[in-house]
C-alpha cells in the first residue's frame, strides 16, 4: 500500500460539483455500466452479470462482509411471480454514517447499481429502506429516482429494452433492529420489526414470502464500478480478499472526523494520523472501535500493522463491520463508553428473544452500577457470564453485537474496570 493512497481518486463520492444531479452524473460516465449491459445483452446475460460481480468479490459493506455476487446467486430461477431487491440504507449503528454520503452526493451511482442488481437477479421491484432520521437525504434520493425515471433508467422498458424495474423509498421509524435484513423485511411489510427465524433465508422466502435479496447501499454503489471497469480492475483495488473502495467513517477524538473514501485495506494508523489529522489535542491513542459500535474495540498497542480489511482485523481480534471507525484518546473512560454502548443496545433490542431482551438490560444495569462506582469485582465475572449466555442463542445477531463490546473491553481493559470496582472481601462461608 505504502503511499498509493495519496494518489487515489475517489470513485464512490468523487469531488464533482452537483453530482447528485442526473445531467452532471451522466456527463461523468453515469449510467454507462447500465447502458453497456443493456446494449450487449448476449454477453451480459443476468447470469454473467452475477458471475462478474461474484468474481469481483464485493464484500458486503453492511457489516457481515459477505460476497455480494455469491448472495445474488442464491436467488432461485424466476417463476413469473414477483421477486424483490431491498436496499438497506437504515444505517443506525453508532459510529456509522457512510450511506448518507452516497444519498447526499452520489445517489445515482447507488441507483445504477441497484438497477444492475435487479437486472442480474431478474427483479422488477426495488425497495430502498432508509433511516427515517435521514429526511433531507431521502428527499435527495427521491429526487434522483424521479430524474432517473424521467430519463428512462427506471420504470417500464428501460432504455428501450424489455427490462423494467420500479424503485420505491421507504422511511424507517427509528428502530435500529430494522437494519437487520429480516426485520427490515418485516418492517417493509408493515409489521413490527422482529427478525425472522432462518431458515428459510430471504432468497427462498423474503418479502411477502417471495425471493428477496437485501444489499447495503454502499455495496450496490460498488456494482457500477465493477460492471464498467471489469472484475479484474476491481480486484486490484486494495487486498484481493477484500477489494474495492471503502467509505471510512472516522469519528471520535481526531482532528478531522468525516467520511473518507480510500481503497480497502488501509493501514489503520495512516487513516488516523494522516487522513483524519491525528488524535485531537495531540493526545495519545488509547483504543479504536474499527467498524461501528458492535465490533470489539482494539487497544492502541494491538493496532500495529493492522489494515482495514476483514482478514487483518479478524487476526487482530475485531471485525471490519461498516468501517465506521471510532477513535478514542487516552482520556476516554472505557467503562463509561461501554456502558453507553450497552445502553444503546438495551434501548434497541426488539425484545423478541429472551436472552437479548433480558440480557441487554442486565448488562446495562450492571455496567451502570460499575460506572457509578457501586460495582464489585464479582460484577465483572457476572458481565462475562451474561455475555456468554447471550452469544449465539438468539434469532438475529443483535445479542452478539451487544455482548461483544462488553466481553472484549473487559478482556482488553480489565484494569480500568477493576479500578472502578469496590475491593470487597467476603468472609469464607
Amino acid at each position: 500500500m505504502s503511499n498509493d493512497w495519496k494518489s487515489y481518486k475517489p470513485m464512490l463520492v468523487p469531488a464533482i460539483r452537483d453530482l447528485h444531479d442526473i445531467s452532471v452524473y451522466e456527463k461523468n460516465n453515469g449510467y454507462q455500466a447500465l447502458k453497456k449491459i443493456l446494449k450487449d445483452r448476449k454477453t451480459w446475460t443476468p447470469a454473467n452479470v452475477v458471475n462478474e460481480v461474484k468474481t469481483a468479490n464485493i464484500r458486503g459493506r453492511g457489516g457481515a462482509g459477505f460476497n455480494a455476487g455469491l448472495k445474488w446467486s442464491f436467488m432461485p430461477e424466476p417463476d413469473g411471480k414477483p421477486r424483490y431487491l431491498a436496499c438497506n440504507g437504515d444505517e443506525s449503528e453508532p459510529g456509522t454514517f457512510k450511506d448518507r454520503k452516497l444519498f447526499e452526493f452520489n445517489p445515482h451511482l447507488f441507483i445504477e447499481g441497484a438497477i444492475i442488481a435487479a437486472y442480474a437477479m431478474q427483479i422488477d421491484v426495488i425497495y430502498v429502506y432508509i433511516r427515517g432520521e435521514y429526511r433531507p437525504f431521502i428527499q435527495k434520493l427521491q429526487k434522483a429516482i424521479d430524474q432517473a425515471c424521467e430519463k428512462g433508467y427506471l420504470g417500464k422498458k428501460i432504455l428501450g429494452s424489455d427490462f423494467s424495474v420500479e424503485m420505491y423509498t421507504h422511511m424507517g421509524a427509528g428502530a435500529y433492529i430494522c437494519g437487520e435484513e429480516s426485520s427490515l423485511m418485516e418492517s417493509l411489510e408493515g409489521k413490527r420489526g422482529y427478525p425472522r427465524v432462518k431458515p428459510p433465508f430471504p432468497a427462498q422466502r423474503g418479502l411477502w414470502g417471495r425471493p428477496t435479496t437485501i444489499n447495503n447501499i454502499e455495496t450496490l454503489a460498488n456494482v457500477p464500478l465493477v460492471m464498467q471497469h471489469g472484475a479484474e480492475w476491481y480486484l486490484d483495488i486494495g487486498p484481493k480478499t477484500h477489494p474495492g473502495p471503502v467509505l471510512y467513517g472516522i469519528s471520535g477524538h481526531v482532528n478531522r472526523p468525516g467520511v473518507y473514501e480510500y481503497p480497502a485495506g488501509m493501514d489503520i494508523m495512516t487513516l488516523i494520523n494522516e487522513v483524519a489529522g491525528g488524535v485531537r489535542g495531540g493526545k495519545k491513542l488509547k483504543a479504536l472501535i474499527p467498524g461501528g459500535s458492535s465490533t470489539p474495540p482494539l487497544r492502541a498497542d494491538m493496532l500495529d500493522g493492522v489494515t482495514m480489511d476483514s482478514e487483518s482485523l479478524r487476526e487482530a481480534g475485531s471485525m471490519m463491520g461498516t468501517a465506521g471507525m471510532v477513535v478514542l484518546d487516552e482520556d476516554t473512560d472505557m467503562v463509561d463508553l461501554i456502558w453507553r454502548i450497552s445502553y444503546f443496545y438495551d434501548h434497541e433490542s426488539c425484545g423478541q428473544c429472551t436472552p437479548c431482551r433480558e440480557g441487554t438490560g442486565w448488562l446495562e444495569k450492571t455496567l451502570r452500577k460499575i460506572k457509578d462506582g457501586n460495582g464489585e469485582m464479582r460484577d465483572l465475572d457476572l458481565l462475562l457470564a451474561i455475555c456468554h449466555r447471550m452469544e449465539g442463542r438468539t434469532i438475529c445477531a443483535l445479542a452478539d453485537a451487544a455482548a461483544w463490546p462488553v466481553r472484549y473491553s473487559i478482556d482488553r481493559f480489565r484494569e480500568e474496570f477493576e479500578k472502578k470496582c469496590k475491593k470487597t472481601v467476603y468472609a469464607v462461608a
Binding site: S349, E358, W362, A385
Partner: protein, 580 residues
C-alpha cells in the same frame, strides 16, 4: 424409514415435522413457552434449545462417514438450535438436557433471564399451580438469581377488554396471544408494543380487546399476564376438580373442562378435540358456568291454584302428574322435546309418553340466523338439535307451534327443559286452558307459568350425550353433586386433592351448593308404568337402548365416545326407519 436419534435413542418418523412436536408426541420432555401446536412458530422464547447435528455424508461413496469406533461422524451445528423450529431430517442427532451439559446450562440460563424481570408474585397470581413458567422453573431453572437491580416496571391490572385483564410485568413476551388474534380469531386486536424488556402486548390505542374468543388468550398465556376478569381471584387451581364436558350454549358443542369447587362450577375451559374445537372455545360458552350455579330450581314446584307455585315433594310431584294423565286421553297430550336437553332425556320423555299412546312429539329448534361465524359459534343456540331430530321428534316452527296450541287446545303440555315462553312469542294466554308440566334446570318464564315444575340436572350434573350441528355426538360427565349423588360413590366424578385428603372441616366441600334435582330420565323411571321398557338404571343403559332402536345412533356407546372423544354420526340415515 427415516430415523432420528434423540439422546442416543433411535426413533423413526413418517411425516416431516418439527423436532419439538415430535418429542412431545413421543412423550419426551423439553421445556418451552412460545411454541403452541396450533399457532405459527416464532422461536422467540429460546427455551427449547438442543444440541443438534447431522451425520457427515460421503457423497462419493454414498455412505455415512464412520469414525474409528464404528460410529457415524456427526457434524454439530455451531449454535444451539431451537427444537420447535428445527425440521426433522433423516439421521439427525439431538442432544437434550439429558445428555448434554451445555443444553442443560442454556435452559437454566434462559430461565434466569426470563425471571429477572418477572415479578415472582406467584402467591397472589392466578396462574400459580398451572403456570408453565413456575413448573419449568422448578424443573429446569437455576437455584437462584444473580440479578441485583430494580426490575423493569410495566402497567399492571389493565382492563384490555370486557373479559381480559393484563399484568404486563408478568408477561414473558412469548407472543402467543398476539399470534392467536392474528391466526385463529383473525381479529388482529393484540400487538406487542414498546421495545426490549419494556415490551408488552396490548391493543391499539383506544381499542377494546372484545374479540369473541378473547379468553383463549388467557388459556394459552404461559404466565399470569392475561387473566380472566371473571375468574380472577376466585379460586386456586389445585382446589378445583376438573371434569370433561361439552359446551351446551352453542350448537358447535366445544369440548370443555368444567372446574368445580364445593359443587359450584367456577370456570369453563376448552378441552382439546381435534374434530370439533381444537384448543379453543368462544367466550360465551365459558360464561355459561353461571347457568349451572345460579337461579337453579331445587325441589319440585307445584301450582295448586292460581295463587302461585309452592315447593312440594317428589312423591307429590309424581302423583300429581299421574292424576293429571289419568284425566285425559293420549291424543290430548302435546309433548315438546328440547334441543337444549340431552339425547337420553329426550329419549326417556319420548319413551314414557309413547308408552301412554301419545303420538304428538314436537320440538322447536333454537337458532338465531346470522349469529354464527363459521368457526366455533353456530347459528344454532342449542347443543342437541340434531339429537332431538334423530330421536324422531318433529321439527316445528314458532308460528305453527302457537297455532297448534291455539287450535288443538291440548289438555296437557309436557315441555322438556326449554324456555319456550322466554324465547318465542308464546304467552301464558296461549297456555291458559292447558295443564303444563315442565322439566327444568333454571327458573325462567316457562317454569314460572308451569303447573308442575320438575327440577332436573344440568350438563354439569349428569352423564348425557349431545349431538352438535355437524352431527358429532359427545357426552358429559357429572362434575357437580346433586342432593342424591356422591363424589365418593360415583366413580365417574373427578376427585380433587381436597376430596381425597380434606376433612369435613378443612375442605371446601359443603352441602350448601347441592341442588335437589334428578336427571329427567330418572323421573320417568319413578313413574308408575305398565311397561318394563323404562326400568333404566343409568344413562349409559339408556344409550344402549337408543343404539338398539335408532339407526342413527347405531354404533354409539359411552365407552366409544370416551375413547374417541365423540363419534361422528351419519345424519342422513335418520329418515331410514322410525321406530313404531
Amino acid at each position: 424409514m427415516p430415523e432420528i436419534y434423540i439422546d442416543n435413542k433411535r426413533y423413526e418418523f413418517e411425516k416431516p415435522g418439527k423436532v419439538l412436536q415430535f418429542m412431545l408426541d413421543k412423550g419426551l420432555d423439553l421445556p418451552f413457552f412460545c411454541y403452541h401446536p396450533s399457532l405459527s412458530i416464532p422461536a422467540n422464547c429460546r427455551q427449547c434449545v438442543v444440541k443438534a447435528g447431522m451425520p457427515v455424508f460421503d457423497r462419493e461413496k454414498k455412505v455415512f462417514e464412520i469414525d474409528d469406533e464404528g460410529n457415524r461422524v456427526i457434524r454439530y451445528f455451531p449454535k444451539l438450535m431451537t427444537a420447535c423450529s428445527l425440521d426433522l431430517a433423516d439421521g439427525l442427532v439431538i442432544h437434550t438436557h439429558e445428555t448434554d451439559e451445555l443444553v442443560k446450562e442454556a435452559q437454566a440460563d434462559n430461565l434466569e433471564f426470563i425471571l429477572i424481570n418477572h415479578p415472582l408474585d406467584c402467591p397472589i397470581c392466578d396462574q400459580a399451580g398451572e403456570c408453565p413458567l413456575q413448573i419449568l422453573t422448578y424443573k429446569y431453572g437455576p437455584e437462584g438469581s444473580r440479578f441485583e437491580h430494580k426490575k423493569v416496571h410495566k402497567p399492571k391490572a389493565i382492563q384490555l377488554g370486557p373479559r381480559v385483564i393484563l399484568d404486563a410485568e408478568r408477561c414473558i413476551n412469548c407472543t402467543r396471544c398476539v399470534r392467536f388474534t392474528d391466526e385463529i380469531s383473525k381479529t388482529y386486536q393484540l400487538t406487542i408494543i414498546s421495545r426490549g424488556d419494556k415490551n408488552y402486548p396490548t391493543t391499539a390505542n383506544g381499542r377494546e380487546f372484545d374479540d369473541p374468543y378473547s379468553l383463549n388468550t388467557v388459556d394459552i398465556c404461559p404466565v399470569g399476564a392475561l387473566t380472566s376478569a371473571d375468574f380472577r381471584f376466585k379460586a386456586r387451581v389445585w382446589e378445583m376438580n376438573q371434569t370433561p364436558s361439552v359446551d351446551i350454549t352453542n350448537g358447535k358443542g366445544c369440548s370443555t373442562w368444567l372446574w368445580t369447587r364445593d359443587n359450584l362450577v367456577l370456570r369453563v375451559t376448552p378441552r382439546f378435540n381435534e374434530a370439533v374445537n381444537d384448543h379453543w372455545m368462544p367466550d360465551a360458552g365459558r360464561l355459561a358456568y353461571r347457568k349451572f350455579n345460579e337461579n337453579r330450581i331445587s325441589r319440585p314446584h307445584l301450582r295448586p291454584d292460581d295463587a302461585g307455585q309452592v315447593r312440594t315433594s317428589w312423591n307429590n310431584a309424581q302423583l300429581t302428574l299421574q292424576e293429571e294423565l289419568e284425566k285425559v286421553t293420549a291424543d290430548e297430550i302435546l309433548v315438546i322435546g328440547s334441543p337444549h336437553a340431552s339425547v337420553e332425556d329426550n329419549y326417556a320423555l319420548r319413551t314414557y309418553f309413547g308408552n301412554l299412546g301419545v303420538s304428538r312429539f314436537r320440538f322447536l329448534p333454537h337458532t338465531e340466523p346470522g349469529t354464527g361465524d363459521g368457526f366455533l359459534i353456530s347459528d344454532d343456540q342449542a347443543p342437541n338439535t340434531n339429537g332431538v331430530k334423530g330421536l324422531g321428534f318433529d321439527e316445528i316452527d314458532e308460528k305453527s307451534l302457537i297455532k297448534l296450541i291455539e287450535t288443538g287446545k291440548p289438555k296437557i303440555i309436557a315441555i322438556l327443559d326449554d324456555d319456550l315462553l322466554g324465547r318465542t312469542a308464546l304467552t301464558e294466554e296461549h297456555l291458559a286452558s292447558s295443564w303444563m308440566i315442565v322439566w327444568g334446570t333454571n327458573h325462567n318464564d316457562t317454569t314460572r307459568a308451569a303447573n308442575l315444575v320438575v327440577p332436573v340436572t344440568t350438563a354439569a350434573e349428569h352423564a348425557a350425550s349431545y349431538v352438535n350441528v355437524d352431527g358429532r355426538i359427545q357426552r358429559t360427565v357429572p362434575a357437580k353433586e346433586t342432593l342424591y349423588t356422591n363424589r365418593r360413590l360415583n366413580l365417574e366424578m373427578s376427585m380433587g386433592r381436597l376430596d381425597h385428603y380434606g376433612t369435613k372441616f378443612d375442605n371446601w366441600v359443603s352441602d350448601a351448593n347441592r341442588i335437589d334435582c334428578i336427571p329427567a330420565w330418572e323421573f320417568f323411571t319413578r313413574m308408575k308404568s305398565d311397561s318394563d321398557t323404562i326400568a333404566w338404571e343409568s344413562s349409559r343403559q339408556i344409550m344402549e337402548d337408543i343404539a338398539g332402536t335408532f339407526p342413527v345412533f347405531r354404533e354409539v356407546s359411552y365407552d366409544r365416545m370416551d375413547e374417541e372423544n365423540g363419534i361422528q354420526l351419519k345424519l342422513e340415515q335418520d329418515s331410514e326407519v322410525k321406530p313404531a
